[in-house]
Symmetry: C2
Amino acid sequence: MFQNFKNYIQNHSDITDEQFITISGYLKSKVIKKGEFVLRQGEICGYSFFVSKGLLRSYTIDEQGKEHIIQFAPEDWIIVDRSSYFFNEPSELFIDAVEDTELVMLNEDFITQACNISTVYRAFNHKALHSHIRHLQKRVNLLLGATAEQRYLDFIKLYPELTLRLPQWMIASYLGLTPESLSRVRKELARRNFKPH
Amino acid sequence: MFQNFKNYIQNHSDITDEQFITISGYLKSKVIKKGEFVLRQGEICGYSFFVSKGLLRSYTIDEQGKEHIIQFAPEDWIIVDRSSYFFNEPSELFIDAVEDTELVMLNEDFITQACNISTVYRAFNHKALHSHIRHLQKRVNLLLGATAEQRYLDFIKLYPELTLRLPQWMIASYLGLTPESLSRVRKELARRNFKPH
DNA sequence: TTAATTTCTTATCATACATCAATGCCCAGC
DNA sequence: GCTGGGCATTGATGTATGATAAGAAATTAA
């Protein structure tokens, strides 16, 4: 039931099988279909969501009703609105399933317990926060300076498998483009004989 | 010498005067003039910089030689390239002084010691990481969706005092605009009789 | 004070990307 | 096998912002 998650957590900590069993009481698993939500704007994000199988995304909807995708989470990724989770504030984000998805929900108690049991896990968590910051800062920098084409090239370099799994309009949304613009960027790349990978 | 920093840290933790004295051996203070650097692209960021007086900024320079300002840090703020600091990687960022500045440099040992002495300080640190993430995510969202005017209005609402202290071209750079565009935005706001504050 | 930079504004023109609209594609469900 | 609804492409046109250039204003230096 939690096998993928157990592998994941043991790869990143020294938590033993027995320890995992004791704290797995704080876990919930869930299976959802494409399009179903695990978080909606306005709700408080009480869980981190680990993706065992499938693909989730988080996004905002602005005043003009436009979606802006913040993050994708394929297998072995964790997705969460950290602001809402940590500060107990209503979330700005929606999180829904891009594909049929199996996920594990970790609540605050689980994290606390795991940190108490294992300093390795605690350090892993700390590192994850820094990775998140690094990623966001890089994205800010790209959005400040890079053209549509540069942002797209960066995306397919960073997420080659996602590029294949996602509909193009979602990639466009992640990059801050319209689907039409992304289509033209791709056309231009093809004209110049660009081969991904 | 570290008075402002001592106040700051005691406001955010239960560290005593005596404890502060023992760990203050890990601190360095520095006075720099407007335009001087505390970090350059390519260097590893070995310190967090606390601003006692004055104003620092961090920014990148892209391939076309354009600056993109990532952060401002006035009094009582800490500025650091967390990626470089945590992962020991060469930094993408420059950090220099917008005004003549007095600062305190905290190295890894200081942070470690302070965390060991005080769980309150440790929690404060943890919270700071989450605040950073919240801020970056909000900025990504603005850059994805908002117009020049919306971004500028958001800025002056968030940083009213900075708006007065900074040259406009730096605000423009922070917002991902040219100075000319920001000037037009301001003109249009003035025409519509907008009063800051 | 004058001179010299730097910053801000304004105007014109250029361009990347958005918007709107039409078409074709694909594959999901009947 | 049709049929319909998302999705991708393409073209025509619009618009916000960038680029360039010049002058005004403000700040700093001499």
